[in-house]
């Protein structure tokens, strides 16, 4: 063990291994720190009025009812419109366009959309929907969010359909079923749980998205369920209230951040625990 080369190699290895353990612990500590910070501030701000009153004027107490309802509305509409389109496009990639040049292009474009800066989707929705309608609206917000839902659903649908064994399709066709029935009643059923994962992950993604809503759904201080008008939503309310100088507003922002974090992490953990995972959803 007196050999200096061995000693040096051993020392270098110790340093590298130690550093890598250290940064992992550090990374987990940051996660814990963020979560405890959100919990501490958020729990202190949670009260029954959070779910029964709308956002207050400066300096007054209130709740987040209008923002919670608004976010649910926006997300639901975005998912309802985005999912079928995503499923169909994913079906094309997995079932009809395997190996074709066009599907390579679409797959590439979908990957670009998957990681495109979400604020650009907001600009796009503003230029197309808000300018055309002439006013900010919930529809515009949902449109922007659906542009995030679509690529997530396309990716998971394709991944999951590719996992369905060819023999199942052959068996279906062998029974005389037309191909569309094979896909819709055999493949979708076999891949269903995985496709559901995609939709849930998409919901988790859009629940926290703020940038696409800033200049589409805007915000609304009052109760409104009108999708054709500016509508309150949790992310934008959190942003505005957190940046404000009023203590009551900041408290509500923390409460909202806690709600969103719990919802997003809850959805992620739920899908991980109960459903098959698509590979690489980055």
């Amino acid at each position: 063990m007196a050999n200096p080369i061995y000693a040096r190699r051993r020392a270098r290895n110790m340093v590298a291994v130690g550093a890598s353990v250290l940064v992992t612990v550090f990374g987990l500590a940051v996660l814990a720190l963020i979560l405890t910070s959100i919990l501490r501030h958020g729990l202190a701000a949670i009260s029954p009025t959070l779910f029964t009153e709308s956002t207050p004027p400066p300096g007054a107490h209130g709740g987040l009812l209008n923002a919670i309802v608004g976010s649910l509305l926006l997300n639901t509409v975005a998912v309802v419109f985005g999912t079928p389109l995503g499923v169909l496009a994913g079906t094309y990639l997995a079932e009809f366009g395997r190996g074709s040049r066009f599907s390579d292009v679409v797959r590439f474009v979908n990957d670009m959309l998957l990681s495109a800066p979400s604020i650009l989707l907001g600009l796009f929705a503003y230029e197309t929907v808000v300018v055309t309608l002439g006013h900010f609206s919930g529809w515009a917000g949902s449109f922007a969010l659906s542009l995030i839902v679509i690529p997530v659903v396309v990716r998971t649908t394709e991944d999951m359909l590719l996992l369905v064994p060819m023999e199942l399709r052959e068996a279906g066709i062998g029974l005389g079923a037309p191909y569309w029935r094979v896909v819709s009643t055999v493949c979708y059923r076999a891949a269903g749980a995985g496709m559901l994962t995609g939709v849930l992950l998409a919901v988790a993604r859009i629940s926290g998205e703020t940038a696409p809503l800033l200049f589409t759904a805007l915000n609304n201080q009052f109760w409104s369920a009108n999708m054709n008008a500016p509508i309150a939503n949790l992310p934008v309310v959190i942003f505005q209230f957190a940046m404000s100088p009023y203590d009551e507003w900041r408290e509500l922002a923390w409460a909202g951040a806690l709600l969103i974090t719990v919802a997003v992490l809850g959805l992620n953990i739920l899908t991980r625990a109960a459903l098959p995972q698509p590979k690489g959803n980055t």
């Binding site: 291994v17 353990v21 496009a89 800066p117 600009l123 992310p235 957190a242 992490l265 690489g280």
Partner: protein, 331 residues
């Protein structure tokens, strides 16, 4: 079903037995195929649409300022003079800081998850890291502004100024008031946000390294570090690079977390402690308040710049990852 009950003659036998099903099949398949094809076309059209819409919106600004738009430092709504230089610099500097901090940390986490951790630990730790990626960016922003920035200003910034400030050259970077917010804070928050992405990709590509290679290296007496540095990393180079560039793409386009902690100032300074602005934070802060055609168009032009930068970066990342995947599949 009249044909079933009717008397069998030469005519009825010659007819298709179940005309209804045949008909449905002949319409159903092309219809379904057409619908999926159309949906795929729409996905393609969305990206093209974004590019076209941004280009049209940006046209007035480019007509007014020409190429000067990219080198003008001023951002002055009162005099209607706009330039992308300051926000573009802010975006590049914050992303550079983020990469500088995030890459070594992600590398360490990936090594830990593939080489060091005992089997029972890999899944929970890996999941925790992935959950860090799922936390919405606005939460990072709030945490950065209210929890991290005060701590950073009180403890870290004075220390950095004290120890690194006197170093010639380098010291200029850490010279400045300990505000807590600014370029370096935004870079750190971005780093925390992209670590999980880069670490997850690195772990995945490390796992594609054939076990025989690893075992052969260990068998010749190599240390863990030597296996990682001389066997795993060279094999996985393309994928590792792809993961890093993917993280860069995220950092460049991230909006909310940065908007909280950047400080919004149109300055290009050497000091990383000074407040600044990034392309996305400018758009987020000013778009709804933009008055005047040129102001509005300049903001969209900023968006177009961001679109082009991220598109190039993300395309490069996908290319590297695809090449890596093709090799792993062929091996």
């Amino acid at each position: 079903m009249p044909s079933r009950t009717s008397v069998v003659t030469a005519e009825t036998v010659a007819k298709p037995v179940r005309p209804s099903t045949r008909q449905r099949r002949s319409i159903g398949d092309p219809l379904f195929r057409g619908m999926t094809h159309l949906a795929a076309l729409i996905v393609f059209g969305i990206l093209v649409g974004i590019a076209v819409v941004l280009a049209f919106g940006a046209a007035p600004a480019f007509r007014a300022f020409g190429p000067m738009f990219f080198v003008t430092k001023a951002w002055n709504p009162v005099e209607d003079v706009f330039g992308a230089l300051a926000p573009a610099c802010g975006t590049l500097i914050t992303s550079a800081i983020a990469l500088l901090l995030a890459v070594p940390v992600s590398f360490g986490i990936a090594i830990f998850l593939t080489e060091l951790a005992p089997k029972w630990m890999r899944r929970p730790v890996g999941t925790a890291v992935e959950l860090l990626a799922a936390v919405p960016s606005i939460v990072y922003g709030m945490w950065g502004l209210f929890s991290f920035a005060p701590f950073y200003a009180a403890h870290v910034q004075p220390a950095l100024t004290a120890y690194l400030g006197p170093v010639p050259g380098l010291g200029r970077l850490f010279d400045g008031p300990p505000l807590g917010i600014g370029l370096s804070t935004a870079g750190i928050i971005l780093a925390i946000m992209i670590v999980p992405f880069i670490a997850a990709v690195m772990r995945d590509v490390f796992e594609t390294v054939p076990p025989m290679l690893r075992e052969a290296a260990y068998g010749t007496g190599a240390t863990t570090w030597e296996v990682v540095w001389k066997v795993v990393l060279p094999y996985a180079r393309g994928g590792v690079l792809g993961g890093i560039v993917l993280g860069l793409g995220r950092a460049l386009g991230e909006t909310m977390a940065v908007t909280f902690v950047i400080g919004n100032a149109y300055d290009i300074t050497l000091s990383l402690f000074m407040p600044s602005a990034t392309i996305s934070s400018v758009i987020a802060n000013e778009f709804t308040e933009a008055t005047g055609k040129l102001y509005y168009s300049s903001l969209i032009a900023l968006g177009l710049v961001l679109f082009v930068i991220t598109f190039v970066v993300l395309a490069a990342a996908r290319l590297m990852l695809a090449r890596m995947k093709a090799r792993a599949g062929g091996a």
